[in-house]
Amino acid sequence: MIKLILKKIVNILPTLLGISVLAFLLIRLVPGDPIMLLLGERGADPQVYAEMKASLGLDKPLFQQYFSFLGNLLHGDLGNSIVSKRSVMEEFMDRFPATLELGIVAMTFAVILGIPFGILAAVKRNSIFDYSLMGTSLVGYSMPIFWWGLMLIILFSVKLGWTPVSGRIAVEFEIERHTGLLLIDSWLSEEGGKDAFLSAFSHLILPAIAMGTIPLAVVARMTRSSMLEVLGEDYIRTARAKGLPYFIVVAKHALRNALVPIITVLGLLFGSIVTGAILTEMIFSWPGIGKWMVASINARDYPVIQGGVIMIAMMVIFINTIVDLIYLWANPRMRQ
């Protein structure tokens, strides 16, 4: 087992190396120059330009830039942002909790609704409920997040006044940062107390729905098809024949087996949260890494983009490795 885990970790290294090359090269292939952008719309003094370029190390040949980036990376140093001058790692850690919090709530939303809907659709196969649910999930799956987010805001925030439009918490609460997860920090804070927690929670609702809609549709459809497959198995018929109530058969026998592929999909979906975060965070002014990456791409902030991509890639790989390991643990046949 330990050998297998080690092997997994060794396999990760070339992937990370490849990603570092891609992250480094792709942003440099995009036209545009961070220094020109930093110097703004007015004419730049050629001398200032050259000085800045040299001070950022951008005057060196590409391969030299890459190796110094790689060297620093091996020491755990992602460099400093060109725009803010702060360490990329610090900037990442400032924003990551916001994305994580949103991601967890969005996934919870997708799972809590998606699995029961999927089961119901499978159990009531070919009913009106099934058809309408599958139709709706197809719509949900194809929904542009940007438009959907705006519609949610117009309905729930402006017309009905139920939820706040955007941001993480109402402006009157100043929450001291402990974990960066506002639900926890606001709970711990003495100043705002319960009101602060509720405010943070209500700010999460719409972005979580916007971000969780696609995963919800995927989970519901996946659960349905997986359940249908399991419900057709012999042992289900046997269980029914034994005289067990249908509910017990579905909840105890069928669901557990049907969950295995759903967990795989959840692992993948969790990895793709960052992609969803980019759009959701822009719409809801959510201060997470998605919004941060977009701003950095627009500013051609090379170190941030490189560092951000590496960090995100590591997370995705980490989550998928964990999922793989859970598999190995759960399914002895795969260990060989």
């Binding site: 930093l38 001058k85 139920w162 941001g167 402006v171 009157e172 209500s202 002014s285």
Partner: protein
């Protein structure tokens, strides 16, 4: 059952949180995150609003809502007869705002002014290289070569010696990059070995005191209780960073902010109809234009440029591109600036005239050319591509076949500075309300080196006039020179000026005391709820 509990708890949560009270907190929905809280090292309006107009003051400032220079931290000043020595008498009793990280022990004095100016000017200054040490405005306004010495005469008197007489100097001093910082705070940071904090945790004499900044979310300020012009009317000022204009509008409607930056023109009619909102407007200090690269054929010929001037139906662009939210330009200077040449006769729109002028230039059948379209949305040109298409159609009528070209913004700027274009859409928003800031920067020979003169037009008689206008202090005499210069511009037509956009601000009906700043900032020192 579980579902019921979930729904109940959700509803409870919503009920409790929507009853928010604002007290005297003014919430401004801004568009982006500031890159730093020091206008000397930043150039974007976002950073300026969050620092220059809130936390800091300058020796002289623009009177709220105008471009008139009035006393601020300097109570009065004297200019020597040769126009080269400025002596400022500082205001007494001005206090720096106390924050969590700094408590001032003395009032503002000459040391603070010397400290602030020298940081940008003197490479040996202990803060010069801090946070990149790029003082772009200071260099762009040529303050580095202009200011020769800064002398503290006594605690409340400062003497500045200039290399040459320069009349826009006072207007430059009123710009945010010349803000006065606390030397005492600087000394404290040196001791704590945290010099870089000077630009991230600001200390100033302005109407508001910086409280905190949650990255990409909120910037909090509190009223400066010791503000020398009187305590601001709101207790707290919050910038809620909201990048999407649609969401900003929804936040305004939902009462989550009291004012939004730059509403999108398409929303203005609906905003005007909303009885809870009000919309203010003022002509902007800007110009959108189409520049010819006069160094390239066939644009080296005046007739070709004039023919194109006649061929472009600019009035139609005002309706289609600006939705009527602009006035047609006939000069490079916007009408809000003194020195604007009001009596110049604009080139009339006439296809026939354009054709005959083009034929006289030796192109009876037209020619092929590239036209670069602005890739970003700017007040002075909200839709470069669409404007390009309209120009293309207009020029086709006189036989000029246009290929539209565009690049992403950084590439566009870099290539245009190298002069790779034939015709290019660009624009400018004024910095200090001085005609020099338009004519010299955009059309002067000095702008050829820096790349801001994209027409590549260095016309001796024009340049002589604007250079001379810079050295005299009498505003009337200067205005005369600028009017003459605009006549030369009009005759030689290195650009087709297209429009000056109108600036809008949308806010809740509860807001009072806000004035639109012609220089494009958002200033809250007098707002009330």
């Amino acid at each position: 059952m579980k579902a019921k509990i979930l729904i109940l708890s959700l509803a409870l949560g919503l009920l409790l949180t929507t009853q928010t009270t604002w007290a005297k907190t003014f919430v401004y929905c801004s568009e982006g995150s500031p890159s730093a809280f020091n206008p000397a090292i930043t150039t974007d309006g976002t950073s300026n609003n969050a620092s220059g107009h809130t936390v800091y003051n300058r020796l002289v400032e623009f009177k709220y809502g105008t471009t008139e220079v009035v006393p601020a931290l300097a109570e009065s000043w004297k200019v020597s007869p040769d126009g080269k020595t400025y002596t400022f008498n500082l205001r007494k009793g001005v206090k720096f705002g106390a924050t969590k990280y700094f408590t001032p022990t003395r009032e503002m004095n000459a040391d603070d002014v010397v400290f602030s100016f020298d940081r940008q000017r003197d490479p040996a200054h202990s803060f010069h290289k801090v946070n990149g040490g790029n003082y772009e405005f200071f260099k762009a306004m040529e303050m580095d070569t202009l200011i020769q010495t800064i002398k503290k005469v006594d605690n409340f008197t400062i003497e500045l010696k200039l290399a040459k007489p320069e009349s826009p100097f006072l207007a430059n001093l009123a710009m945010s990059f010349m803000s006065v910082h606390s030397k005492e705070y600087g000394d404290q940071l040196v001791k704590e070995n945290k010099k870089e904090n000077i630009d991230m945790f600001p200390v100033g004499t302005g109407p508001f005191v910086f409280k905190s900044y949650d990255k990409d979310t909120l910037i909090r300020f509190e009223a400066n209780k010791d503000y020398w012009q009187g305590v601001p009317k709101v207790d707290k000022l919050v910038f809620a960073i909201t990048p999407d204009p649609n969401v900003r509008y929804q936040k305004l409607k939902a009462g989550e902010c009291h004012m939004v930056i730059e509403p999108s023109p398409a929303d203005i009619p609906a905003m005007r109809k909303d009885s809870n909102l009000k919309v203010l407007e003022a002509p902007g200090l800007n110009v959108g234009y189409l520049a010819f690269n006069v160094k390239k054929k066939p644009f080296d010929k005046i007739e070709v440029r004039r023919a194109i001037y006649h061929a472009l139906n600019r009035a139609s662009y005002i309706n289609a591109i600006y939705m009527g939210n602009a006035v047609m330009a006939k000069n490079p200077l916007p009408p809000t600036i003194w020195g604007h040449h009001d009596r110049v006769t604009d080139y009339e729109y006439s296809v026939d005239k354009a054709k005959s002028v083009l034929a006289r230039a030796g192109y009876p059948n037209g020619f092929e050319a590239e036209l670069w379209t602005l890739p970003v949305t700017r007040p002075y040109n909200p839709n470069g591509k669409k404007m390009g298409e309209m120009m293309q159609a207009d020029l086709a009528k006189i036989g000029i076949k246009i290929k539209l070209v565009s690049y992403d913004w950084p590439t566009y700027l870099a290539k245009s500075r190298k002069g790779e274009h034939q015709m290019i859409q660009l624009g400018w928003t004024g910095d200090n309300g001085d005609p020099d800031n338009f004519l010299n920067v955009l059309l002067g020979c000095a702008g050829m080196n820096s790349g801001s003169n994209v027409a590549g037009w260095c016309q001796k008689d024009f340049n002589d006039k604007i250079v001379k206008a810079k050295t005299i202090t009498d505003q009337k005499a200067r205005a005369k020179l600028y009017i003459e210069a605009q006549e030369i511009f009009h005759e030689r037509a290195p650009w087709v000026p297209v429009a000056h956009s109108v600036v809008y601000r949308a806010m809740s009906n509860k807001v009072s005391g806000y004035k639109i700043d012609p220089l494009g900032g958002d200033i809250f020192k007098e707002v009330d709820l």
